[in-house]
Amino acid sequence: MQATTAEASPVQARVATTVDEHIVEIVSDSGEGAQTCGQIFADLCARHGNGIWTVEIIPAEIEPPKRSRAGASGNRIRLGSRPVTNAGDCADIVVAFNEQVLYSRIDAGALRPGTIVFVDGSWLASPDERIVQQYREALADFRARGYEVIPLPIVEECLRHADDVRKGKNIWVLGLLCAIYDLEHTKVLQTIAARFARKGADTARRNADLFTAGYEWALRHVEQRFRVAPCAVPQDGAAQGTVVMNGNQAIALGIMSAGIEVCSMYPITPATSVSHFLASAFEQTGGIVHQAEDEIAAIGFAIGCSYAGKTAVTITSGPGLALKTEFIGLAVMAEIPLVIVVVQRGGPSTGLPTKVEQGDLMAALHASPGDCPKIILAPATIGECFHFMITARKLAEEFRGPVMVLSDANLATGQQPFPKPVFDPAWLAPPLDMSPVEPGALPFAWDPETGLSPRHIPGQRGGEYVVTGLAHDEYSHVAYESSINQRAMRMRSRKLAVLQSALKPPIVHGDASGDLLVVGWGSTLGTIEEAVDRLRADGLKVSSVHLRFLSPLEPGLRELFGRFKKVVTVEVNYSDDEGDPFITAESRRYAPLAQLLRAHTLVDIDCWSRVPGSPLPPSVIAQQLRLKLSAAENLCRA
């Protein structure tokens, strides 16, 4: 049943259904602009005052085949009347530019009976019989699954305003969505005009026409209308205003705001967009992006720069981290400050370059030869991606060593609003001290209790010393006595304990004690807490805790875990499931955070993790937690 434009019924004031939140997905073939459409829609909703959280749907190839399940590209936007912290469960509306890419979303479990599916109906008129056949079968299938299917005359509509249909569909769809969600027409047009101003007057005008066309078509032909009210309370006390960006942009801005002057990198998905942003923005703050010849050169350059006084940052993903481990070890041994950002992706090996995974924790902790204690942070929100960069540089310089910041592909591309950071000059690196060093000052004057020491920078007269990766003493002389090696290791290790003494115990989400405690880290904060909230609403005694410091670990964990009957980590990485063949208590491989916490606290912590290549929906987590709870109960009774 194809909607025709012939029956242009007059614009009716349809009644809008007020909802607390909605999840919208837009999917298309690669290159059709569904991602842009999603980004703009998210931006518009944020300006409207909604809380948003987005997830990019990214194909792994540059040019995947058209009309294929694997080639789906697009965006999911969850908008709400309250701050939104995760991607949610099933979509309420999906707009698909062809029916095959919709299947990829079905396979991912993103739809439910009742999801409204808008699909481009132009395929029905395709000259290719196979395509028409596929289309018919697919739509029948969709209806059988219980989706509400509405074909759209996208191509026909777009051809009225643009010659190349591929250029217009996403803006037309944007108009459609804005009408469905009742976003004010003129204000939106202004935003769009500003966004496309750079591309020339013709493009801007064409986009405005396409947008209006989609908007008006929806007003005439689409029954559904939803209203998602703006957040009543300003999000997190936003007296200073709100910003919207994705995690990589937040990291880049954080790097600039920390006064870092050099970002040294090698291109790797999904980290590269940080450097893209910096490559043009850094000029404003007097910094540079150095693209090195490989990952190892990138960190070497950053270390050289830090050694000469200006702490630098290097950015990579899992495979790059593997290459950098020798240099990380050198930075620890020579106590050279450095910030290393790892935007984790699906592994192992080349894995899933565009998909989220939290698989590099162990590598971050242990991959370098020997004992390499270092600080590891994991931001959990987009806002923390910004703020942790400032903390990272400061800690790197005070504790004189590398600080790793673990992000992931979900944070990298997901947009979320947060209070606009109010810049404080104290964030910037202090000016270099080039004054001569005190006579008798040692290159590694370890405080015997803390292991901390001031460092000499080239240019300081009297401070000349040779940094070396070889075992060395306080004079940075190569150490040949055995006691020196022991002492030096002790000092470097001590620094972590010192930092831990200054950390606060983690804040518990929920009650301070109960039946089940969920522990997470990184981008799963929102989805875990939402799952926990659902269980708590059902009266279950579940709480959660989300770690930001992974090395050193936040204090008080053993005592905290003791207050719950069961502790489970929920992670996006691989672990064996209990009950699988051959998986016993002795052979079961636990998820990385669970391994770490088990060793640290001696508590029999369980884990549940998956590597779906997409964020864990709260409903799935909730379901698993219920299973864990009931299993625990059964155990108790037994």
Partner: protein, 549 residues
């Protein structure tokens, strides 16, 4: 003489003679206005056109451009009032980069001193809890900042801060530099001292006016104070540069800085100061402050002096006219430019060079006479610079390349002196009393055209009436008798021009040229040649005693 009745159309020789010598009589023969000098076709073709040059467009930050309107700025018409605007615009454009560079060096010196003091502060006073908390960013909520601070402050050797003397030095220098930055950012690009009746508003060209009765003296006093104050700022700059690299050594540098004055500064630094300009007309200078004029030019200070001259002084023409260009030349150490608003290329080149010099600089500029129509004033100015009345030249005291480079005289027309000052004065109403029309029937052999008259006058003043040809508004040729005073004026200007030509080495000195003997390794050959030459000269001398003169 007035008693004698004369028919208005005829004049007698005696009447003409009286007029020529005394300037009186024949009032009926006063020329009408609208007379134009009779010029050769070559001369006419060579005259530049007013519309092609004026109004000149003055854009802030750029040198003025003739008749090319820009997006911002304003036009400067062909009038005396435009002169300080045009000069000021060249000045500002020429020194803009020096000024910008100086401000930048101030900013950087301030930044590096501020950094030094911040680093010193960090060493002396342990950071407060708030400061440490702020430096951690918002993630501080995961940390106990107090506990962190207690471990930070426990390093082994706590570095000591700067010694007290150094700290005071740096702080004093920082204050001086901050004040200097504030002052210089808002300072005008030039100060104009003038006793002129109508104060010109120069803010559009970036300048500020200071009224004064003796502008030369006041300007000198002002610039002395300016340089004294500036030396303090420059000392602070040098101190900052040394302190920034921890290279300040009291034993050496205290003394070095104490003796530092503006003369050891970089030229770029002095050029960054707002320039002190004096605007005084030739008439007022002559009447009032010649002493302070001389003192200003001998001072060696970086001042500029604009002397607009509308032609020739209207006073007593018996003697010579005060020639400020030549007077300035005699001061040797000053940059001297004699130019005309009617010769834009020469003026622009001259002002561009003048903007970059730090010597005392004088520009004597031919400006249109007030009260004349623009075309008349334009023609008059053109003719003045073509004639010996107002030769255009430029003298730069220390340009490399020898005298020929330092002193450049603009040669207008070949030396047949086809234009005399009188041709220019003819156009001006002020000098009308010096002319009488000779009716055609009174033209006779006792009248001689002025150029010829001037040529013959050298050997013996002929007893004839000098006249100039002119064209009236119908194009008819008219003959105008001129006074003795105008003749003296012409001679004076010829002498002045001759002097300048000699200076420019355009014509050889009247003494015989020495025989130029090629330098050879052949000593005896030289002696022989010299002997032969001497013998020839003695013979010549004996043959014609007149050559001894």
């Amino acid at each position: 003489m007035s008693a004698t009745l004369i028919a208005p159309e005829t004049v007698s020789r005696e009447q003409l003679r009286t007029f020529h010598l005394s300037g009186h009589g024949l009032e009926g023969m006063l020329p009408a206005s609208g007379l134009k000098p009779s010029l050769t076709d070559d001369t006419l073709r060579g005259l530049p056109q007013l519309e092609l040059v004026y109004p000149v467009w003055i854009t802030p930050g750029k040198p003025p451009a003739p008749n090319v309107p820009g997006n911002e700025g304003f036009p400067a018409p062909f009038s005396a009032a435009s002169l300080p605007l045009i000069h000021g615009a060249f000045l500002a454009a020429g020194r803009a980069s020096a000024r910008a560079a100086f401000l930048q060096s101030l900013r950087q010196a301030i930044a590096s001193l501020a950094d030094l003091i911040a680093v010193d502060d960090a060493k002396r006073r342990p950071a407060s809890l708030d400061k440490v908390a702020a430096s951690l960013g918002e993630a501080q909520r995961f940390l106990s900042v107090g506990r962190l601070m207690s471990v930070f402050g426990r390093h082994g050797n706590q570095p000591a801060g700067m010694d007290a003397q150094r700290r005071l030095r740096c702080e004093a220098a920082l204050t001086a530099l901050e004040e200097a930055l504030y002052t210089h950012q808002s300072a005008p690009s030039f100060w104009l001292f003038s006793s002129g009746e109508s104060p010109v508003d120069l803010s559009a060209a970036g300048g500020r006016v200071c009224q004064s009765t003796d502008p030369c003296s006041d300007a000198l006093a002002f610039v002395n104070q300016q340089l004294f104050d500036f030396a303090i700022v420059l000392r602070a700059l040098r101190l900052a540069k040394l302190e920034a690299v921890n290279a300040y050594d009291s034993a050496t540098h205290d003394e070095a800085l104490a003796r530092f004055d503006w003369q050891t500064a970089e030229p770029g630094e002095i050029a960054a100061l707002p320039t002190v300009v004096v605007l005084e007309s030739a008439e007022r200078l002559e009447a009032a402050s010649l002493t302070s004029f001389s003192r200003l030019l001998r001072s060696g200070r970086p001042v500029q002096l604009l002397i607009p001259s509308s032609g020739l002084c209207a006073g007593d023409l018996t003697g010579s006219v005060a020639d400020f260009g030549a007077l300035a030349l005699a001061h040797r150490g000053a940059f001297v430019l004699q130019t005309s608003m009617a010769n834009w290329d020469h003026l622009a080149a001259g002002f561009t060079e003048m903007a970059l010099t730090l010597h005392p600089a004088v520009a004597v500029v031919s400006v249109p006479a007030p009260g004349e129509a623009p075309e008349t004033a334009w023609l008059q100015a053109c003719l003045l610079s073509l004639s010996p009345a107002f030769p255009l030249f430029r003298y730069h005291p220390d340009l490399e390349g020898g005298w020929q480079e330092r002193f450049r005289l603009l040669e207008s027309l070949p030396e047949n002196d086809s234009v005399t000052p009188v041709d220019a004065l003819l156009l001006s109403s002020r000098y009308r009393a010096h002319f009488r029309m000779i009716p055609p029937d009174a033209w006779d052999k006792e009248q001689l055209e002025l150029r010829e008259f001037l040529r013959r006058y050298q050997s013996a003043p002929p007893l004839v009436i000098p006249f100039v040809n002119a064209l009236d508004d119908s194009g008819a040729l008219r003959r105008l008798a001129v006074t003795r005073e105008l003749v003296h004026l012409c001679f004076d200007r010829q002498r002045a021009a001759e002097m300048l030509r000699v200076l420019a080495a355009k014509s050889p000195a009247p003494t015989a040229q020495a025989a130029v003997v090629p330098i050879e390794a052949n000593d005896s050959g030289i002696r022989e040649a010299a002997a032969k030459d001497a013998y020839r000269r003695v013979l010549a001398l004996l043959a014609d005693p007149q050559s001894l003169v």
